[in-house]
Amino acid sequence: MSRLTDHRTIGFGYLLLSLLAVLIGTLLSLAMRAHLAWPNWPLPLHGPILPEEYLALVTMHGTLMLFFVLTVAPQSGFSNLILPAQIGSRHMAFPRLNALGLYLTALALFTLLAAFFVPGGAPIGGWTAYPPLSETALAGPGQGLGMDLWLASIAIFSIASTLSSINTLTTILKLRCEGMTWQRLPLTVWGWFTAALLSVLAFSVLLAALLLLFCDRHLHSAFFLPAQDLVNGVLLQHHGDGSPLLWLHLFWFFGHPEVYIAILPGMGLTSMVIANFAHRRVFAYRLMIATTLLIGFLGILVWGHHMFVAGLNPFAGTAFSISTMAIAIPASAKVLSWLATLWRSRPTLSTPMLFALGFVSLFITGGITGPILAQPILDEYLHNTFFVVAHFHLIMAMAGIFGLFCAIYYWAPLLFHRTLSEPLGKLHFWATILGAYSTFLPMHFTGLAGEPRHYAQLSGVAGPATDLLQSTLPLQRHITASAIFLVCAQLPFLLNLILSLRRPAQHLDNPWQATTMEWAPNALTPHPTEDQTIVYREPCHYSDSGKEFLTQWSTASTFSPEPE
């Protein structure tokens, strides 16, 4: 097989793209935080941040992080690197289609970044691009060519994600090795499978919405534009009686599954890593498979909860409220399974395990504000405040990133043929979780105090709002300082990567005593060996004492003593 279509090359390609996106996205968020705390501070090499530039920062930060980090790295990156080995295959179903997905994703990323350099700069409409302000260049700088580049980038990304998901789904469906029944699939594979199903369904709808928005912008249709709409005092000449709500429906039909696409692989990995390091079987394995699928299914039915204050019919709001709270049931079942797996075990607290536990912690903290926001009456107050920012940064962004770190530390022996340093890893973990909570927990309080999202400046606002916003400024400074700390907390990780990669490669034979197929001898060699790969049992087959275990590929039928 050619090196360019090798799934591991493609996986590393996706991770590199994500790394680039996360670096830029993080710098943008630091600029936002600095501006909120010290509005008059001029950005080096740039000068003071203007309100429209702040909005461009918000937009590009959200777009980069959501699409190019939280979707690309867990779903496309790690599924390419690990999935085939976990199902006992040596390759993926459509290598060339897979490579095309990577190239299109790279093209999408560079198209998006090009928006910084065109006249007017980057778009300012947020990652959700709500009409009518995303409809016309009159709405502000960046809504002209910048917005067109955003549309093109996300359209290319949609196609790339769909291609990549087709490959993932077919691989899981057709290339499982002998004995790898559905119930024996690791929960990570179930996570990738469900996320890929959601991708195929959701990204096509986004593509259609983008096409319609493009027609509105350039062909004078009005799918998302009400009749006689004025933008900046200019009457827009379009034909039709559209509604911005229609865009919201289409966008969030994609947007909500999208957040599950980002988090489901992390959930699966957390289950497997906790079981691995606790030396326990996953509690209620079949139920965990069912909850993964159920979260995916319910995830399609909840999009309206993003629209409670957008003019949605209150009856529809009630229905979406119920479906949203229903999703708390499978999510809680997952948390209970993680806790039950750990219960009275003696877990080894290595770095991957710490990050998996961090995932659980952040998932709970971010998750309990979910049912609060799911109620239209509470959301009415909270929707446009930082409370929501706190909610989704904890449950999606931070939990997602912890899932990624867990994956990198856990699979490092397979990715780099080296383990990463434990002391540096632990320092990285503790600093990161401290920074994450210190940054995002206080946002709940500023949000409850009424701090709005998307406001470039909190001081110097006329009227009674001044006092209100002034009162949040001390916390704002704390949040900004924490954000800087959180970014610095990533330095041990980078140092760890560099130092480890400078060490000579080791031969590591299942260093975590894992049971899944990717740790089987020669699981990553590209060519089939003489012996065929056969799976004999479900993953995480640990004895009750936790001292002995049977791998999925082991032919033994009784527990053998642990090596060493």
């Binding site: 097989m1 090795c177 709808v205 259609a208 004078h220 009005a222 509604s243």
Partner: protein
């Protein structure tokens, strides 16, 4: 007892990739026997080595998911069609104004639809030809290329009919333009053009697929590759045909 050409103990260590990797077609020329008379039974081989049928179903599964995503694209478009058709606004006199004026569908679309349905028939004949067992055996052994020749003929006909359909669609757009009906004229004309153009783009992909399939029939040395390419292209073609019938009925009677 059948003649044993390859002793089973050697045979067990003789796994050859079946070509899933995009490389050369399989050259597994084992003749069977194996003592129990069941050596050629693909089902007894390890997964991933069970011969052409496995590749075919893999390609079909991939196509299934791709078309599922595509279907969602059109579901979104059609949903917006109904929402837009039903929406209006209140003017200064509190009258409800709905700007939607149905676009008169050019009658040539009936002809185009018939041509497209006919092209599905010719495509299906080509697809079935690829799997005629007796001829496939001939071709497998290299005696001749009966099924590739047959499929080339029918696929060329499909390609012609597909081109005719696209030309017909072009004529319909031309006729509407002559009546000064353009994309921007009315909400209903937005949808006429959106639906016909996105469908035409999909059909154009199908035409590229047909051309690719004809090239494979001509130049590919592997019978199973030829079968897979023809099979998936034709299934794609069928789905685009059925989709068109639905979209056409929507435009004709749903406005």
């Amino acid at each position: 007892m059948p003649t044993t050409f390859t002793p089973p103990e050697i045979d067990r260590h003789h796994h050859i990739s079946d070509g899933n990797n995009g490389q050369k077609p399989p050259t597994d020329k084992r003749t069977g026997g194996n003592g129990d008379g069941d050596g050629d039974n693909f089902s007894n081989r390890p997964q991933g080595h069970r011969g052409p049928r496995e590749r075919l179903s893999q390609a079909r599964v991939g196509l299934f998911f791709a078309l599922g995503g595509d279907l969602m694209f059109f579901v979104a478009l059609v949903s917006v069609f109904f929402v837009t058709k039903a929406s209006g606004h209140f003017d200064a006199y509190s009258h409800f104004i709905n700007e939607w004026l149905p676009t008169a569908i050019p009658t040539i679309l009936w002809l185009n639809t018939a041509v497209l349905l006919l092209s599905s028939v010719t495509a299906e004949v080509a697809r079935q030809a690829m799997f005629r067992e007796h001829d496939a055996m001939d071709e497998w052994f290299g005696i001749g290329r009966p099924i590739s020749k047959r499929a080339t003929l029918w696929l060329s006909l499909t390609l012609f009919l597909g081109g005719l359909f696209l030309a017909g669609q072009w004529a319909a757009w031309d006729q509407l333009a002559a009546q000064h009906v353009f994309f921007r004229t009315n909400p209903s004309s937005h949808f006429f053009y959106l639906i016909t153009i996105t469908h035409a783009l999909h059909l154009f992909l199908g035409i590229i697929g047909l051309i690719a399939a004809l090239m494979f029939l001509q130049f590919s040395r592997s019978l199973s590759t030829r079968q897979v390419v023809v099979d998936t292209t034709v299934w794609y073609w069928h789905v685009m045909g059925i989709l068109w019938v639905f979209l056409f009925l929507l435009l004709e009677y749903g406005q």
